[in-house]
């Protein structure tokens, strides 16, 4: 069932001088009537240009893009704060919006009073809020402060209470803007678990965020916007990879690099690019040389896409592959093996060929391979160190027992 419909939507904002006082308006009217005002079209800025998508019940759509791409405008149109200039958009059923979760809070009211007020703003009945009041306060973890004025709360408490109210709505559609960037790690995990639960119970979710790991985990599909236009709509790994590698283009002047990733047992990593933490992966690379080179090396770099971190870098000569001597037109193949000792997240492999004599890049291939590490337990950080433990002193290496470790 289609819950969110966004059909060929265009949204214009007026730009430039705006008259917000009568004192400014009167001279402007005179000027316009004298024909000295510039044409209106020059002052129009298109925040969205022909954007279409829909979200089914039980689906989560992520919207990503740089600042000013039009992400928040999409949400404001869906919540009816704004109206489209052209096209149409609709939400079917009861919608819960978490655009600014604590927007309705008044600093001088207590937590309890604010829960009722904010609940009413979100469209809940008083009886509904009363029935869920204890759950809301418990979820937010603010029981001792429920009768304290909200102005005495820390920003984290504020955000937790705001999210908690929204999390106890029973919506058909949930519109979320950047709420996960608040609160501590543990609370963020709790929020994400809650949203996943909503999605699995058939709620349609539209999620706008800069925090790509959360998008990758929650969403079934992702919309990439750039300057108000749709770049692409697709699966999270492919769209996020495209977004992250957008700024670092490949440069393959002197070589052409092709690669594919294989599981050690299966033929190749399937379309979801999902691998288990610690899984052994094979990387096959072919390099077509266009120039002659005496001593070349092949570099393998792993990037954490969502956190934009350089995770690992190694070169073929480190692992015992002799320097490559090639003539123009040669096609050479290489194979590598590595263990995905990573925490859950989205990663990309970058390959480069370097002329070792001249210390010069012959070519860099970026964004051609990406994969997603999935695991049940979420560790923080990038590297999976396979922490093991038990109570009491031990002479044994506990990690020996870990099935994920290869050696």
């Amino acid at each position: 069932m289609r819950r969110v419909i966004f059909d060929g939507v265009w949204k214009a904002f007026r730009r430039g001088e705006r008259h917000d006082s009568l004192r400014d308006l009167l001279p402007a009217l005179v000027r316009r009537s004298l024909g000295r005002q510039r044409a209106v079209s020059e002052n129009v800025f298109w925040a969205l240009k022909d954007v279409s998508f829909d979200v089914q019940a039980g689906e989560a759509l992520g919207i990503i893009g740089r600042n000013g791409a039009g992400k928040s405008t999409v949400l404001k149109l869906l919540t009816r704060i704004l109206k489209p200039t052209r096209g149409s958009c609709a939400v079917v059923g009861r919608s819960g919006a978490l655009i600014e979760i604590a927007a309705g809070f008044h600093p001088d009211l207590t937590g309890r009073e604010n829960v009722y007020l904010q609940g009413a703003i979100m469209g809940m009945r008083r009886a509904e809020i009363a029935a869920r009041f204890d759950d809301i306060v418990e979820f937010a973890g603010i029981e001792p402060f429920v009768d304290t004025q909200v102005k005495r709360y820390s920003s984290g408490m504020n955000a937790r209470l705001g999210f908690s109210i929204a999390a106890h709505l029973s919506p058909d559609v949930l519109l979320i803007d950047e709420v996960l960037s608040v609160g501590d790690m543990a609370f963020q995990e709790k929020c994400q678990a809650r949203m996943k639960q909503f999605r699995d119970n058939g709620v349609a979710i539209v999620f706008v965020s800069h925090y790509l790991p959360a998008v990758a985990r929650l969403c079934n599909k992702v919309l990439l916007l750039d300057q108000g236009a749709t770049v692409r709509l697709g699966t999270p790994p492919s769209i996020i990879a495209e977004y992250c590698s957008g700024s670092r283009a490949s440069d393959e002047n002197d070589v052409a690099i092709k690669a594919r990733l294989r599981r050690s047992r299966a033929d190749r990593v399937d379309d979801t690019f999902e691998v288990a933490a610690g899984e052994r992966l094979n990387l096959d690379v072919t390099v077509q040389f266009r120039v002659e080179v005496e001593q070349a090396t092949l570099g393998v770099v792993v990037w954490d896409l969502t956190r934009e971190l350089y995770v690992y870098g190694a070169s073929s000569d480190f692992v015992g592959v002799p320097p490559i001597r090639a003539r123009a037109g040669d096609l050479r193949t290489f194979s590598f093996t590595f263990d995905a000792n990573l925490t859950r997240g989205l990663y990309a492999i970058e390959l480069n060929v370097v002329d070792a004599d001249r210390h010069r890049f012959l070519g860099i291939a970026r964004g051609i391979i990406h994969f997603q590490v999935v695991e049940q337990i979420s560790y923080d950080g990038i590297a999976n160190l396979y922490l093991a433990g038990r109570e009491g002193a031990s002479v044994h290496d506990l990690r020996q027992a870990h099935p994920g470790i290869a050696r």
Partner: protein, 264 residues
């Protein structure tokens, strides 16, 4: 189109009726918490004004009224004060809630309406003093008091209509608030609040009678103090203005609503 809009306006108000109560409760609660005097403020303004005007019109320049002047003046000031404070409050009701207007959707009418509702609570509190004055001056209400609910209903609707217009106007043009402050002072003296309308004749008298608030204030005095039905001509005029103004103001507000977030 028109019918759809009207239906949507009423349905939204019905769906969000609890929010209107919550917002009103919020503002009342805040004032009670933030000010030492709390609800005593509701009594202060009409009482103080009554004292001042009683001094002027009983000692300095005595005028003839059908009931004791303090009772006459308090009744008028009480009614006037409801409209004035409701409107003063609603002018900034949208602009002082920028966060809510730009971030959350609910019918925006809630803001001016809750401003009116808050002032109405003050009005009810201040009305107790009127009852005390009536007892003190031994003015007993007649069966005409049965018309009071009708007078109050017209008064609230008239005030709500202006509240919608002013809240919206101040959102688009911020100097409306200052202009309106000036206008309020003039308007009070043009509304026969502190003097009987019969005392003014000629062209100025006609102008004052054309002001809907004159009919409003006089209607209160008729049903409460004079024991008579409101003057048909002047009250009918006030009612007619209200009946036309409220739906048109509301419709205008509703149709401009989606531009609020962009213009605030």
């Amino acid at each position: 189109m028109l019918r759809d809009d009207l239906r949507e306006m009423l349905r939204e108000q019905f769906d969000f009726r609890e929010l209107l109560c919550q917002m009103t409760a919020r503002d009342l609660l805040l004032r009670y918490k933030q000010t030492v005097m709390g609800f005593a403020w509701a009594l202060l303004m009409p009482l103080l004004n009554t004292a001042i005007f009683s001094f002027v019109f009983m000692r300095v320049a005595p005028i003839q009224t059908r009931v004791a002047y303090p009772l006459f003046a308090y009744c008028g000031l009480l009614a006037w004060n409801f409209t004035a404070s409701a409107l003063r409050f609603s002018v900034t009701s949208l602009t002082s809630n920028t966060n809510l207007v730009t971030k959350v959707y609910f019918p925006r009418e809630i803001f001016p309406f809750s401003a009116v509702a808050v002032s109405f609570v003050d009005y009810a509190i201040a009305a107790t003093v009127l009852v005390a004055l009536m007892i003190y001056y031994r003015v007993a209400p007649s069966s005409a008091i049965l018309l009071l609910p009708m007078v109050v209903a017209v008064h609230v609707m008239f005030t709500a209509a202006l509240a919608l217009l002013l809240a919206m106007a101040n959102l688009f043009y911020r100097d409306v608030k200052y202009l309106f402050d000036v206008f309020l002072t003039v308007w009070m003296f043009a509304s026969a609040v502190v003097y009987p309308i019969d005392a003014v004749g000629g062209r100025v008298g006609a102008l004052i009678r054309a002001n809907p608030m004159t009919g409003m204030v006089e209607a209160y005095r008729s049903v409460l103090l004079y024991g008579a039905a409101p003057d048909p001509a002047s009250f009918a005029w006030t009612t007619a203005v209200t009946v036309i103004l409220l739906p048109s103001a509301w419709l205008l507000f509703h149709r401009c609503e989606f531009r609020f977030a962009e213009n605030i």
